[in-house]
């Protein structure tokens, strides 16, 4: 069953068009990775799906319903939670409060609660009363993931979770993904790091300059195809 789908999704910031007709799908229980270089439009795509940027209603469908025009609080209440780029923890809130506020908009229960998040990332339990921003980058990323899970989402959007982190820390964070998948959530991962993306994702989409340039099953796409889809065929200069 297709859970989430974008249809000819466009986005612009003023005069600058960032997305030119994106079509992606996410099946229930699936993990999909969106990869691409800096400025390819990946974060814009995440911002559009999560309701930070408004789109035309029919450009984004969730469980068959048009959600493109909904604002972010409505999106999260329907079951799409986002781990934003740069983690965006609330500096005035402690670690535990940051986690608790993740459940603010969603009533009722599900697989995830404070205790289960602490099981997933035990270090957070130790630091629960510290201000969120006093933690290391990796720990902050764990809080951001935990915070999004607290809403018990059907879809978890992860925007650049490995950005700026040491390889060993990235490994720790990705080690949590099997448990997240096991809880029933479908996942969209946005990454610049191709290796990690291929490891956890069932399928990948490659983006360049606001367009999808390649898609396929992670096991089937070749490194060469990704390389040209990522950087463009032949010589291509990035700014």
């Amino acid at each position: 069953m297709t859970l989430l789908q974008t249809h000819a999704l466009t986005a612009r910031y003023g005069d600058f068009q960032a997305l030119f007709g994106i079509d992606i799908t996410l099946e229930a229980g699936e993990t999909v990775a969106v990869i691409g270089a800096n400025g390819a439009g990946k974060t814009t795509l995440m911002r559009a799906i999560s309701g930070v940027l408004a789109s035309a209603p029919e450009q984004i469908l969730f469980e068959g319903q048009p959600i493109g025009a909904l604002a972010s609080p409505d999106i999260v209440m329907r079951g799409i939670a986002m781990v934003p780029e740069g983690r965006k923890l609330f500096p005035s809130l402690t670690v535990e409060e940051n986690l608790l506020i993740g459940a603010y908009g969603t009533k009722g229960s599900g697989a995830w609660n404070l205790a289960r998040i602490y099981d997933l990332f035990p270090i957070l339990k130790e630091r629960r009363h510290s201000p969120g921003t006093a933690l290391s980058g990796g720990q902050q990323q764990m809080v951001a993931i935990g915070r999004a899970l607290m809403s018990n989402p059907k879809v978890l959007l992860c925007d650049e979770i490995s950005l700026g982190l040491a390889p060993v820390v990235i490994k720790d964070i990705y080690a949590a993904f099997p448990q997240i998948k096991a809880s029933g959530a479908s996942i969209v991962i946005v990454e610049q790091d191709i290796g990690h993306a291929l490891k956890v994702a069932d399928r990948i989409y490659c983006m360049m300059e606001g367009r999808i340039t390649l898609s396929g099953r992670s096991s089937e796409v070749s490194r060469d195809a990704i390389h040209s889809a990522y950087f463009g065929a032949g010589v291509h200069e990035h700014h």
Partner: protein, 299 residues
């Protein structure tokens, strides 16, 4: 301390009396300031109509009291939810539209609001000085050693403490308080948590209006007020906030007390100097401790 000369005994008693009256007056100023402080703390909005809203609430209490023959405390209880609703609607439909990077729109819109409330009250109630009648409680005092403490001033001060404890509990313990702080930090990310910043801001202003109602109850029962009395109340609230340090509710109490004591001492020297002494205390704090007594550690 025993004094052999009766004159100095009376003088020291007067000093204690002055200090006590000043501290208790500070409770009223803290109540003025608390509402201003939470609105600024949560949405960085300086509401120039804050004083006029206090006077508006005082007229609301007066009207309910005289219309239904109720006790003013009961009237305030009725006025509080109405003021909450008024604050909520005001923020949601007007003030939210002024929030942003530019500080000019909120300043000018609340200044315009101040003029509208003042002149609206003038139309509705005329320029006469009013007071909310309180019967025997008005002049009731408790003899405490050398000084007599007025029941109403004492009640004002205790209410200020209750209000500050209540607000702090709400902001630092309750889910809505987490939402206040999160929205204040980053409204876009707060939206990703299911928080609607526009409603959070409206709720915060509604809450401030409940505090305003409490302030209005004590202002209206203790002293005369008229439609033009708002701006002075805004100024006292502002002075208490700056003296106490931006962002701290206990700071507003300290600021209120400093202001109250300065005014009471000024008035003892010369009744015409009461308000001026408060301004001078404020300027002195600004000169020597520009961030106030309890500046917020993280800004």
């Amino acid at each position: 301390m025993r004094s052999t000369r009766p004159i100095s005994g009376r003088a020291s008693m007067n000093i204690i009396d002055t200090l006590v009256q000043g501290i208790l007056l500070g409770g009223l100023y803290a109540l003025f300031a608390a509402g201003l402080s939470i609105v600024f703390g949560i949405m960085r909005l300086v509401n120039l109509a804050h004083g006029d809203l206090i006077i508006f609430a005082a007229f609301a209490i007066l009207t309910i009291t005289s219309m239904f023959g109720l006790n003013p405390f009961l009237s305030a209880l009725i006025a509080a939810p109405l003021m909450f609703a008024a604050g909520w609607l005001l923020q949601y439909f007007l003030l939210n539209r002024t929030l942003g990077k530019d500080i000019l729109p909120p300043l000018l819109v609340t200044f315009g609001l101040s003029i509208i409330i003042q002149n609206g009250l003038l139309e509705g109630f005329a320029a006469d000085s009013r007071r909310v009648p309180l019967g025997s409680l008005e002049a009731a005092t408790i003899p405490l050693g050398a000084v007599n403490i007025g029941v109403m001033p004492l009640l004002t001060f205790l209410s200020a403490i209750v209000v500050i404890v209540g607000l702090n509990t709400l902001i630092y313990r309750a889910p809505i308080g987490r939402a206040f702080r999160a929205t204040s930090d980053d409204p876009v990310t707060a939206g990703l948590m299911g928080i609607r910043p526009q409603r959070i801001f409206a709720t915060a202003t509604g809450l401030a209006m409940v505090v305003v109602t409490v302030a209005a109850l004590y202002l209206g029962t203790r002293a005369n007020f008229d439609p033009s009395a708002g701006p002075s109340r805004l100024i006292y609230a502002f002075e208490a906030v700056i003296i106490g340090g931006l962002g701290s509710l206990w700071g507003t109490l300290v600021g209120g007390v400093v202001l109250g004591v300065a005014q009471t001492i000024g008035a003892t020297i010369n009744p015409e100097w009461q308000i001026l002494a408060g301004h001078i205390a404020f300027l002195a704090v600004l000169a020597f401790k520009p961030r106030g007594f309890f500046p917020r550690a993280v800004d």
